[in-house]
Amino acid sequence: MELLLELLTEEMPASHIRSAREQLESGFRRELDEARVEVRSLRALATPRRLIVAADLAEGQEDREETVTGPPLAVAKGPDGALTRAGQGFARSHGVDESRLEAVSTPKGEYLGFRRLAKGTPTAEILGTVVPRVLGALSFPKMMRWGESPFRFSRPIHGLLCVFGGRVVDTAFEGFAAAGATVGHRIAAPGPVRARTFEEYRDGLARSFVVVDPEERKKRIVAGAEAALAPLAARVYPDPGLLEDLALNVEHPLVVLGSFPEAYLDLPLEVLATAMREGQKLFSVVRDGEQLALFIGVADAAADAKGLIRRGNERVLRARLEDARFFWAKDRESPLAERAAGLKDVLFQEKLGSYEDKAQRLRKIAAYLCDKIGAADVKAPTVEAAALCKADLLTEMVKEFPGLQGRMGGLYARLEGAPAAVHQAIYEHYQPAGLEDDPPASLSGAVLAVADKLDSVVGALGIGLPVSGSSDPFGLRRNALGVCKIALERKLRFSLPLVLDRVLAAYGDRLTLDRAAAKAACLDFFSGRLRFILEKRGFRYDLVAAALAPGVDRIPDALARVEALDALKSSSQFEPFILMAKRINNIIKGTPAAKVNPDLFAEKEERELASTLSIVSGNAQPMLARGDFARAQGIIFKLQPVLNAFFDKVLVMAEQKKVRQNRLGLLQSISRMLLEIADYSLVVIEGEKGAKPRAAR
């Protein structure tokens, strides 16, 4: 039977709508499941003014047998087995024939009772309480109050529509009793729209210029833009984030094609695209990769018959582009190096100092990184870029369009004739902006980006700025992910703990945490980010945990470790290898570190194990050092036959203490070598307990 629910509100932000859709789906599924109402299908839709749930539910709870318990048997029945007055009273009060009474065993003992069939509650009735509960539990990143109520929500609420099986459900939310009607588009058709079924709702609203499905709105935007641009052999420059947002900003998407004077095409493409996107949310238009003097806008209107929407947007855009052209000319009047002097007056963070301080640190960190990754040839330009990279924060263009930071500096540096490695590094040093964004294309850019991000992460964690759930004001997760992504893709094998030492040293005594604590917090944070990246790449959670267990040192090694484990997983050696490692670890668990003395070997098998180990270890070490864990693993596996023979013939736990410790020492050195690749005891093999993924953190 069909459920249709709509909460009508004032215009909600796109981020709130996304979150609300997820919460509605999981909330209703959870509540209905708990209420034993079968959910055949359920989905949440939305417009900026509506949160919508459409579902197919069972008509009622299933009937079920229940047991009603009365007095204890000892009280209810006499010694002769006949009912006492208490027993008769129980039967009478429930209107049950005495013949249906029976003994019921409970944890507290035997009781008199009877079984009966409980009729399931109708779903409509259950919805009466479930609806306000699910809606009341919705939470948003920033909530508000309005009027005289202490209630908090995304934006003020205006109505509740709730229909089940064609009938209005008897329920209410925040003073709004459920009704069987809503209203249409705010401007184009504000009148009432009646709805008893989802189909009637969707079609009625469609006639009132509201498209209820965000996916459908997105399709219309894409199709509308294609239709408008096809005759010009042009297309929209793809901007998936903007498209997603626009689909949640409008109830009735209307695609508008507009233009601006060609003279503005002299501006850099970055500036044009940003001026259009930010504030006005317009798409750029390209033909064969060339920017055209056109834009695609998305209005929330029925039509633009008079062209007023197009002309209005054109006027606003023209003013913005005129500003941009003014900034573009004005900014070039003073060179970046001169501008950088003003960074001492721009605050990076209250405790962490100014951007001038930051630039000084970046020079040191970048120089150190270049040395460590053998990038001597880009060292000078990267350090030069480090000194200049924040100067564009003082340009008019970046003040107006903060999203252009870095890129503007790069463009200005290029115009000033800076070498490619310098201007590219400045241009790219904020990249990647997210997990999907490209890392810097130039080596100098990669180094500077890593330095900048590490500086921010270390600084913020070093003064104890919290990162939790939705609160990450410094973008630390993004920054740490960026460092990992760059290091992984470029295979930059710097030692993270050593670089952290360098960054901490560059901060001097600015941080509130002591260096050891700050370093530990950073390593833990990076380990968490790496786990996220590796699991997102599809590696099994236990392999990721095993690969990260030795600690994060060189970031690309973490990937190489998990790849080695993953390769092992699909080989025939997997089980024997893991079992071998687990067996060793089990035996040596909790034993004190012991040294191996070859003179104490008594058996042939242990002598053989020791000599094989020395060969294997000698061969594996260089591979471990260069991060070739898959090969090292293969070589270490060669220990297996001698190790089996050892376990067969040699009693590790020998009575004589010296002999015992000697044998444990031998196993410990194997374990240490294994731990240079991964903690194999964390790997789960089939049939083993704990083969369940760890709950998401």
Partner: protein, 282 residues
């Protein structure tokens, strides 16, 4: 429709909504929110409806009269309705229609925009209202002011008069606007923009402004202690404007900025606390 007609139209409309039409406040402010007709009146529990024109001074936005959109002083039409009525969005939309905007031919959008003013410890949740891509109004449900949670919640509607007028007249240059039939915005304001831009950026005496800031700050503290809250608040407004001028003169360093803003905020929060303490249950 001229700027003057626009003001008359808004006055008429909001008077019709039961608003008291307040005269413009006579101290320089950065936004209509900062005048006592908003600041003090949103703090207590009593209903309040007001509409007024307020010049908004932002010294840093000066462009010597050469930019068609930016000026160091513009005019806001400020409306406060407390408690926020359920139908306030519809009322606002109606105000646009009353100005002759045929909304069916346009794209009216309420775009997320949360407003805050650190200086007076105020923030709110709401939108910038966009008409065909042009921001014409700031629409805010006030949540906090002077560091105090507001209850009932007031709604603040701030029309940017020049923006709206440029839309109504379909003009691209602010100085081409008609103030009234035969007086243009250029006639009234161009010389002022030129001279004040020079004052804001070059001529203002940094020493005098620092003295003014310090004197007003000291006076505010003295008045708060005496319980003279409205005069104390006036002194805070003077501090704020002196600070803005010092800033546009490039005379405020990073650490100073944080310090000066928090000094003013502390005074304002003090005033708000005392004001509401005296009015508890009113």
């Amino acid at each position: 429709m001229s700027v003057q007609d626009l003001v008359l139209g808004l006055h008429g409309f909001w008077a019709g909504q039961g608003c008291y039409l307040a005269p413009t406040y006579d101290i320089e402010v950065g936004a209509g929110t900062m005048t006592p007709d908003t600041f003090f009146r949103v703090l207590d529990r009593r209903p309040w409806r007001v509409g007024y024109v307020q010049p908004s001074r932002r010294p840093d936005d000066g462009r010597y009269g050469e930019n068609p959109n930016r000026v160091q002083k513009h005019f806001q039409y400020q409306v406060i309705v407390k408690p926020s009525p359920a139908a306030i969005q519809d009322v606002y939309v109606e105000s646009l229609r009353s100005l002759g905007v045929a909304l069916e031919d346009h794209d009216l959008r309420f775009d997320e925009d949360n407003w805050e003013s650190p200086t007076i410890g105020a923030w709110g949740v709401g939108w910038q209202v966009m008409l065909d891509g042009l921001e014409i109004t700031q629409f805010t449900y006030f949540q906090q002011c002077g560091g105090i949670d507001l209850s009932p919640v007031p709604v603040e509607i701030t029309y940017g008069l020049e923006r709206l007028e440029m839309f109504l007249e379909q003009k691209d240059d602010i100085y081409d606007l008609d103030w009234s039939g035969d007086v243009s915005y250029r006639d009234l304001r161009l010389r002022e923009e030129k001279e004040f831009s020079e004052y804001n950026f070059q001529a203002a005496s940094v020493a005098m402004l620092r003295q003014a800031f310090n004197a007003a700050q000291k006076e505010a503290g003295r008045l708060v202690a005496k319980g003279l809250l409205l005069p104390a608040y006036d002194m805070c407004l003077k501090c704020s404007h002196s600070f803005n001028l010092l800033d546009s003169r490039g005379a405020v360093s990073v650490t100073e900025r944080v310090k000066m803003i928090s000094q003013v905020r502390a005074l304002v929060n003090d005033i708000a606390r005392k004001y509401t303490a005296g009015r508890e249950g009113a």
